[in-house]
Assembly symmetry: C2
Homo-oligomer: 312 residues x 2
């Protein structure tokens, strides 16, 4: 059973994450009035059609008026701009948060614009699919996923706890860490994997001796697993790599060293080194499945067809 | 409706692929007698318990006696040895095939051992999950997956067609190409992705400033997609990289160049180059889904939980 936690909630940016939060908050009745808006007139129009909020505001400034909780769900590169835009219109005592995948530089930029009368609590739900846009969201997206809060040193503990409660209510597990540590952790668990996936999918598309049709046809050998995350929203990911440049370049350096080691083992025919490495990585998969961060079903539980009947 | 295609079929090697073929052939009644065997006594014992074949043979030599079709499903590094072992015991006119993920050097090695009285038709079903062993197989594994046949220049067309018919009957689409072209295609669609996944999962495990617990917890950001294929059978993959060394090193060179380009774009803050690249890769994912080589469901259709009821 859930109950109203904030009399008025505003969500700015109605993509995959913003529209999922809107659905969850509305479905659970966590606010008396849900106000939503987006920079794109077409998306505001769509939000009206599918009734994403109780009210669709025309402007960010109008949307945050008298709101008790404002969650800004725009690409990382626009967070500073939106913070500046809404700052003069925020109600005193309001909580302002975001869902950006990079926290250090972005949180500092937002904090500079926001008035001292509001509580700013940066957040990052580690959830999402490769889909984008207001129609792709769903209320259950955050269930059993982590939401990382990265409060700044002067944060109000009660405000942090109120935001944490909202995230827990919509299904997430909440963890708190510093913005800069968040950026290192996500560089390895999210940003580097995306960069590698984007690279290999691009590589496969450009080969001279293997056609694109062949790559697509025989992708079940492993390649297709990379294409899911390489289909993620381009604007969102451009902004992430630009904002978290230092941590990504650091992780990339370590990855390059490790790739060189495995490459050398292949070139020298060192089967033992390969075998040892491959045995170690198998255990890591098991850890992720045991923690409930992925399904145990073989092949991601991809469905298989039926065989025809046997002749008697 | 299916019918007997080979009076006697032998399967050597009862891992994920071998045991799946055994199940499919038996379930569809494609042979009057299915003989199975494996180099490991424990696996032969298990095959007897779960009745994988009509008969479990103690030796490879005994298993192929009077057989009309012999499919060798052992790791690539053992194919030559098994070919030498069974060669003197094969029935004249029998078809001999394999399921190895590398074809050029391996097919030539097997061909050297096999007598001229049998028809050798190398094959590679591009299917499988990250699971291994006789219990992990299932009859539907090959449905809507590709099976690539790589007959040598002197192959008997009728024998190739009989083998193709068997693969089609158990659900696969059949494609034919030269062994060397196969190895290039698979280097990019399968071997390079596995190598990259093995690398990045290893990298994440060794960092100083991010703990393994953090990597596992926040893996939903993208990392977990890589762990599935990095959990594949270590022996099988060691053999693949050793056998397909040249093609893998060639693809790795191209991948490294592309990764350098994206790294440079991040370092220079070139958002336009990143955006253009990410937009292109998105289209490739769509191609794979359209060809039926992956499910369209967002997030691989990973299941989500339910929200609690709302308070009235």
């Amino acid at each position: 059973m859930t109950t109203v936690q904030f009399p008025r909630v505003t969500i700015i940016g109605l993509g995959h994450i913003g529209s999922s939060i809107a659905r969850a908050v509305k479905e659970l009745g966590l606010t008396s009035e849900l106000v939503v808006t987006d920079g794109s007139p077409a998306i505001r129009q769509r939000a009206t059609e599918i009734r994403l909020g109780d009210r669709v505001a025309e402007t960010n400034a109008g949307a945050v008026k008298d709101s008790d909780l404002v969650i800004v769900c725009v690409p990382v590169g626009n967070l500073g701009k939106v913070a500046a835009e809404i700052a003069p219109h925020l109600k005193a005592g309001a909580i302002v948060s975001d869902v950006g995948s990079v926290k250090g530089p972005v949180a500092r930029e937002m904090a500079e614009h926001l008035p001292k009368t509001v509580h700013f609590v940066p957040a990052h739900p580690v959830a999402g699919t490769e889909d984008s846009g207001p129609d792709s969201g769903f209320a259950e997206l955050f269930i059993d996923r982590w939401c990382i809060l990265t409060p700044l040193p002067d944060a109000d503990a009660a405000a942090v706890e109120r935001l944490a409660t909202l995230w827990r209510t919509i299904g997430a597990n909440v963890e708190t860490m510093t913005p800069d540590h968040h950026d290192l952790v996500l560089a390895v668990t999210s940003h580097l994997p995306h960069l590698i996936a984007y690279t290999i999918v691009g590589t496969a598309d450009e080969l001279e001796n293997v056609t694109e049709a062949e790559v697509l046809k025989f992708s079940a050998g492993g390649f297709r697993d990379f294409t899911r995350i390489a289909a993620s929203d381009p604007t969102m990911w451009r902004d992430i790599f630009l904002a978290n440049k230092d941590a990504v370049l650091e992780m990339l350096g370590t990855f390059q060293e490790d790739l060189s080691k495995l490459t050398r083992a292949i070139r020298r025919g060192d089967g033992e080194a390969l075998f040892d490495h491959f045995t170690r990585t198998r255990a890591i998969r098991r850890g992720i499945v045991n923690l409930g961060q992925d399904a145990a079903g073989a092949n991601f539980g991809r469905p298989h067809g039926q065989l025809p009947p046997k002749k008697d």
